[in-house]
Symmetry: D4
Subunit: 251 residues, 8 copies
């Protein structure tokens, strides 16, 4: 029941001003469009509540997922999900689980609603957990993903041999730990937006990802936006928003 | 002359293999499409070389601008341009200069080629130099810009009163110094991508922008990409790329 | 025996100057009122010695509590108490124990002596251990506490829906990890003093709470005092002092 | 015109639902009480808009002050005001100016509305600019201030000799640069809330105030809230809020 | 098949221009000499792919090593190899394993191809794991290594007693944790290049190796290049390159 | 055999110049007095080699101690000794072991050779491991030690009640974690040299002892020298050197 | 009038208990010996109030010095004194001024009251301002000073050539900027206490003295106490206290 | 006169043991070869004392240069030389001065004594001062230098177009500010040793060169040694040592 309906009810005497005032007070943001935002977002991006598994017990995660399942939800995303939680869920539900990235997806069902391809590029196998968190999240949000995981700048020829894939992507997620340089090189090659994810992989003066983070922020290539260290999920959300701007697929 | 032309010339005997080999060697990246990338980028984004004024003398800037002017360039962008350089250029060229952001534009001529509006939001007047660097840069790159400069989170009602403008933007550039919280609040309200720019405005434990930078990287709102401290230019480039993804206006 | 009594004893010849001098020397601070301070504080704030459980064995904690119990103490507070200590105490005493915040209270008995309500607000479930340390401590010190744990700024409507509770509080304890922005938003809405507690919850560029700490120190909202990272106890002590300033309940 | 009046006007046909809906939309926060908050705050704390002088020209400051003066405002506070701005204002208005703290007050007029005394304590003359910013701000907001500026912990006898003044204060603002220890010592002596202000005074491993800041956050004394480095103004606002909680003087 | 061969094939009609263009496209870096670089490097330095053991399972390491073994490779180097991986490999292959430095070498076979001796110097036994990673790596790459592990600057006489060995080395790898001073002292004594390796050994204000790192970067001795904290492997690669510059042994 | 003896042997023909030159070369520092330094130091300070237990196996420690025992050494000091090493040694030798500080002493035998008393002061029980490392080390080196472990600055009366002991000490070792303020207060009260030891005890913005370290370096009290975080051993060595300067007891 | 006199006056009826109580209250620390401490310190160390010139006007400094001069003080020490203050004082008083270290001394008059020599050692001319602040301060406090300013560790032979002077000193002040290594080397050579002063001299990763500070705190040589960056004065006070412990010269 | 000569003189009675002992004592390091080291180094590398101009007056620099000139020295190098010093010297001597890098060379005279070419590569004009300090220093030390200043990684084609020059260099000095990525890319392309110089050029999260420094230390390319921020001189010294290892040109 929105503001206009309430006002009409008042006008027509079906509701007293006191009742109307209470209605407006208890749902104060409804007339501000807040709830609509949330609905709109879900509709447009296939984005529903995401479960951050790190601080929840297996039982809690199961409970939330079953409730969502009963509503008929697909693609229920659980990030940072511990193996023991995955074991429990697999006994009760249709769960996809990637132990490397600790991403779980209940009732997985892919549908491409994006404008183009999101390329996830990185330079080494050790960044793969973060890469997969980004890739799987992007897929859940309706994006086609191209994984390009072996293009470190210290072996430039490998990157150049995958140049076509990199250059034809609509959005690029560049994941790098020690090798933060990847972002500058890729950012200089493409005209697509680049979402940069520093990772905590490395040792010594890597300082848990600070080295890569600073490097990415200082990248001489323009068109780069940086997310938090190891935040593959956040990178995928941003990339997905960008990849749905054209609205090509929705038509 | 591209690779196919060279190869055909060899085939037809108009060129010896030695000449061809030299040709390929001296312009090795031409056949890799590098130059084409640059041309393509310029065509698509209206983006030409940008002059970083901070490390150049007024005479150097004048020289570069005159050369570009002779080629018929419009919207020649100079960032971090000192007032004395502006004074010199104004005697010889058609220069727009904003002393606050130190942005200069030669042969300014606006043409909207973007998909929608880029909103530049900030919480206080002291962030305005960075805001204007972002806003003017975005305009040069063919984007319509909405300036919303008085929406600090400590006075939430001001932000809510501009909610329509914020929510209807296609991309948002959120600029904040001490008040890095703006990004989380705005990021939670909108479904558009948010480019966050921390500024060095503030004092004490602000540490030259580190406080705002960390806050933005840790924002609980998803869909946020962060650029370097005070980097209004970089934010605008990223926002412009995103705002040209749909290709709506180009048709 | 205080200074006046000693001096009168000297005057009346019941004590030699030498004896008096020794008396004053060996208890030098008694005549400075130090001990009185402690008594006064305990009387006024219902505050007795607090046991920091982190560096004590279960047996040590039990011993201290039994000694205090024999003196007739209520509301004996133990912070950072490990589960094994709780198990031991529960076999011998009347212990309330909250495993989340690791707060233990022996002979719990609530009495509201404060001027108004202390609201503990936070944006997510992961900050709850620190929130509960603050809330339970505040209750032990005689304050009524309102828990408002789901008002993160990225979902502004949730905060606005609890606005009445937040605005009617006498003092606010704002607990936030990654989402340090909560302090600026709340501080801008209320006229009550705000005690801000950064938490170490988060990852990456959160740096164990530094991100939230800096954000709170730089808050553009006035009227905010910050305590150490994860220091729910300290926040409650400060809030309790403020909530007892009016002396309304004591009359 | 509030929500109830609008609803009654709709009921009585004096306003169409469409007009009412527009009214509610364009002033969406009025029915949420936001504007009332601001009024309430001003009435209760004698707090009006404060002018941050650091980023304004003398002419801008003059303009704002004259506008406020015309509305009949007293105690117009300007912080971080440069001497040249003070010179200009003194030619046109009734300005009090303290060159040390760079605080200016137009139409200064003190009225004690607080519950008790705010003591501003510090250990050395070099912290005096921050101390005076705090003290003058507190006075503008209606608090009686006791200045205790020579009580560094390295000369403990000086602090002990002022013990009565420190202990009888209702709130304490402790200002310290290198000598952050003052907060722990004072916090251990009093039962009043302590607002701690680290200053950037010092050299070497002081790191622009970080040393004092960390020390205060780690203070073993409870009941301490910390503000930003050099933020005398913010400390005074918090102290003033606390000193007006009892409402004793307002009756 | 290199560029010239392709061009000749086109000229002679053995290949169509289209086939040639595809060939050039799919192996674009071949004509740039990239692959040749890698071959050249391997030939010249005896350097083949190195296996970073930290992020691989024992089974993965075994698989890679067996594949390399089948190609006839010697001196297969595995760094940061966990004991359980060593156990597995030892059952199937000819593995040398040093549990201290966690370096493993399959089919170890030393051949001195360097110009002179690489001296690895350090001041204490606790740096030995990093020292041995450097020493064993250098040996794998064909360098004769002199281990000088007991020459801390706080006992200068020990260093002076080994002066001949230090001064006659062709390259020096100086490894130091807390005792970063070693680099300055050694760098002042010798005319050979010094590769400095800070280690994370120590405690307190050592900050995981930052203390030694900064000290080495600020060394007043010239001719010093620093590698990452604990990066014995990287130091050995650089030292080996330097020790092969003269080409004396290769003749 | 020192330089003069060698030279006389040459003069008298008992040694050839070649033999002498070798002698001087192989023990180059003997004629520089290096060895004498070490002997002299041992004689004067009762200081022999100290065993850093953290990086040694129980068997290694036992071996070293037995060798020293056979030479007739007393007071063999082992720092950071793990309990399992203590267990082994206790089966074979006369070992004193303090599990709190992890200090072990073989053939303990106290002899007071210092000028006066070294007072070890601290503010809380949690700093006790570092305190005891300092106290036991000082005793091994021949100093009488007064332990004053309950004098935190937040309870100033406790410190004042122990003032006589603090002020009569010849050297003071002040140990403090969060409560770094202790150093400033003590340093202001006494005229004796103060050796300050920051500890890593605490949490949050304590940053593993950095808070206390910075505070001590910035202490407004003069006459304070700081050692590394948690370095009770180093503090004791410095304090012992100072306490043996007068040479009073040695006569 | 001390406690005993007051008590006797009470006993003899010359003072009422009330008068005595007031007396004790208003000068509470007199009977605690605080004032005596200050006197004692002055007598023993020739140490009077030191003027920190950095935050005082030339006129203020002149006023303080004239007041002290009238009391007959010698060796009035002014640190961090600007040239313009020196100019003013030289017109009115007997001022020694060293422009390099900015140390001023009024009525300079040297008297050796120390046990031995304090050696000030450093590695380069750029540390000389801090060295001289230390050396001149030490002289003012009655110590004989040996300046050894050219003994950087990168040229070890220079240090060894001055070994006798270094080793015969009673206390050593080691001043070092980039070359923090000096402390470890010197600390390993001598048995005297070493006071280490990091300086802010240098650039880049020197970070204003942090590099040298960390290096000194981590020195592997025992017997070293560190003071704040650039704090030559503080080092001299500590060294002077140590150099007066034996009391040899005072007899 | 070396040790053998002294010993022979003693044997033959031409010198008493006492004279010999004094001789050995006063020049203790002569028999250790220290002086010889210095001579040897100068002879071998054409390296004489370098004047650090930053902390010297123009007159001091002139004096030193004239003294060296009288000894017949060529290629007297002055780094960080202010323009006013250059002006003075140019009036009296044959000075080459580069105002950009502030390098001065008296009696410049180039002679190529190196094994090959040192390439100085960088990505932008703003790093040029550091580049030139490195290049000019390398030339003074007898190396042929190839300047490659426009090869930033964000424009990879520019680097690839200079690939031959980069790959044919014997040693590479890679200079980079924000664009620290250059080191990884270059290090991956070449087999020559790379000396990496971070510069302080940039703004924001560049933190005065820390961003580039960390990036270089974490480079995934092996064979890289890093020097201090902005330390072009130190890089050149290290590169020159490496470039003289083969000894090819000296024959």
């Amino acid at each position: 029941m929105d503001t206009m309906e309430i006002l009409n009810a008042v006008k027509e005497g079906r509701m007293t001003p006191e009742q109307a005032e209470l209605k407006l007070r208890t749902q104060p943001y409804e007339d501000l469009g807040f709830v609509k935002i949330d609905h709109h977002r879900a509709l447009r991006q296939g984005m529903q509540e995401v479960i951050y598994g790190a601080s929840k017990t297996p039982e809690q995660i199961l409970g939330i997922c079953q409730a969502m399942d009963h509503k008929g939800d697909n693609n229920i995303l659980i990030t940072r999900m511990k193996p023991e939680a995955a074991e429990l869920l697999q006994q009760h539900m249709d769960l996809f689980y990637d132990p490397l990235s600790r991403v779980g997806i209940v009732n997985r069902s892919f549908k491409d609603t994006g404008d183009g391809v999101i390329a996830v590029v990185s330079g080494g196998t050790s960044d793969q957990p973060v890469c997969e968190e980004a890739a799987l999240t992007a897929e859940v949000f309706g994006n086609r993903v191209e994984r390009i995981y072996d293009v470190g700048v210290a072996g430039l020829h490998r990157l150049l041999s995958r140049l076509d894939d990199v250059m034809s992507a609509n959005v690029i997620i560049a994941v790098a730990g020690m090798e933060g340089a990847l972002v500058s090189v890729v950012g200089g090659l493409v005209s697509a937006p680049v979402v940069a994810v520093p990772t905590s992989v490395g040792y010594g003066a890597n300082f848990g990802g600070v080295s890569a983070l600073l490097n990415m922020l200082n990248s001489c290539a323009s068109g780069v936006g940086v997310v938090n260290i190891d935040n593959g999920f956040g990178a995928a959300v941003l990339a997905s928003r960008i990849n749905h701007m054209g609205g090509h697929k929705k038509a």
